[in-house]
Amino acid sequence: MTSDVPALAALRRSPVAARRLLVFTCFLVTAVTLTPIVMMVLVAFQSDTESMAARPSFWPGSWHPENIGRAFDLVPLGRYLLNTVFFAGGTALLETVTAALAAYAFARLRFRGRSVLFGVYLTTLMIPSQVTLIPQFILVAKLHGVDTWPGMILPHAFTALGVFLLRQFFLGVPRDYEEAARLDGANRWQTFIRVIVPLAVPAIATLAVFKFISQWNNLLWPLVISNSDSTRTAAVGLQVFQSTNGTQWNLLLMAAAITTVPLIVLFFLTQRWFVKGITMSGLGGR
């Protein structure tokens, strides 16, 4: 049916032209997709008057690298970034360790009630975090955990998703390795640490990166539970930045860019894991 269109028919006859069109389309789509990110950086370097002008300009008339320092001076952006590293790193670390232990039990050990308990874990995958938001807040408030690190980190460090992902991976590790270790006299803990964990490093790293990125992005929980600069994360800090500085676009977007850059760098460094992680969870039901 498409052969009725002369242009398409011509394309099919000439693979070179088709290929060029394909590459051109990819370039175009990528350029459009990256525009917001590029604009964020461009405006961040504009002068105050230029960025606040009634007619916004897209390319900076003059470059102002000192905007970087000014963004850090207006709000404690460095502190917020450090807090975000604590928050995201703490949840990722705790989640990865506890999920690996639990996943080992679910994948490799026999005990009464295993399938029922795993079923309960799976069921909670569907529960939106907004359902638990209010009870979690009340619990943390009662324990005097508001604006503290345990209060920030603990409620988000035990999810069923991590257990589920790692269990899937552990199930794929050949049992022979474990048997060999056991014959050599290793107990279960040694088997777990010396055999299973080293084999599962890619899966564990995937989970850690995934969790780190999603918590770096988390706005709602830190917004609710942190109320001073000592625990405030970058996502919440940007909100503060906006309310104290109005729409001073160059500095606001500079702060936004500074907050995003570490994540983009991390993303590029760990990209293979990250993509694998998405794919892995994508085919989880297959």
Binding site: T25, T30, P36, V43, P56, A105, T124, T132, L283
Partner: protein, 317 residues
Amino acid sequence: MAVETPAAATAAPRRPPRGPLRRPRFWRHGSETVAAWLFLLPSLAGFLVFTAGPVVAAGVISLLDWNLFSPPHFIGLDNFARLGPDTTFWSALGNTAYFTFVSVPLTLLVSLGLALLLNQGLRRMAVFRSLLLLPYATITVAVAFVWVWLYIPHDGLINAVLGAFGIDGPAWLVSDDWAMPALILMSVWKSFGFGMVIFLAGLQVIPQQLYEAARVDGASPWRTFRAVTLPLLSPSVFFTVVTSIIGSFQVFDQALVMTDGGPGSSTTTLVMYIYRTGFQNYEQGYAAAQSMVLFAFIVVITAAQFLLQRRLVHYDL
């Protein structure tokens, strides 16, 4: 990676062969149970305290009149009865549904289209994939600010581009009709990368012989897509649809930054309304009741999708 179902896992051989020196059976069994619970303990304790407990508590709190400062009162289903005449709640629910049912199909189309484009055997495919995945790896709050800037009425970048084509762009975020589409456009931009990666993975496991066969039969590209690609990609599509619908029902960050629910209440989402009720008006009971309604919607929609899945999703290659 081998993927086993829970049933298959429990059906694994009950007693793997061990060395000749065996301890008595009850002791071995006992020690495995103890070991299992010890391995589970950290995760289980956290899970019970911070996930399972709060889910049950949410149900209980929804039956209370509680502002956190004075003692709670049991008021039965009054919080749920209050939802009926609460027009803001219904418009928040409507807005959330609007957002979901426009943004999910749109995201799906964009991610599928780009996955198909990148799957044409391009040499630099990995580079394009990384760059196209960048929006997914940014912070919603941060990029939401850029989008506010892009959407500035009259001379903002988007309207400037539209103007170049002779189109007089709307006032976007300050317009009752266009604020939601503006949020949706930004959200599609932010999230299409996730689906794109899943579809790329799905496309790469489709056997090439099927395409050869279709070509021999003289099938058109569209027919090949309908008869080969789409059915074999259906598990990936199903997964993406389920996760994006659940995600869309929880949209919050971009709405808070870009419109703060306005103009009027035209972009107030369910989660934003829950947040306001619980943490600005301190009506925890009423907020919990709203979150139970959100939960119920997600359960119903997910269950409906799993029923549909039996008819539409093909797992056999």
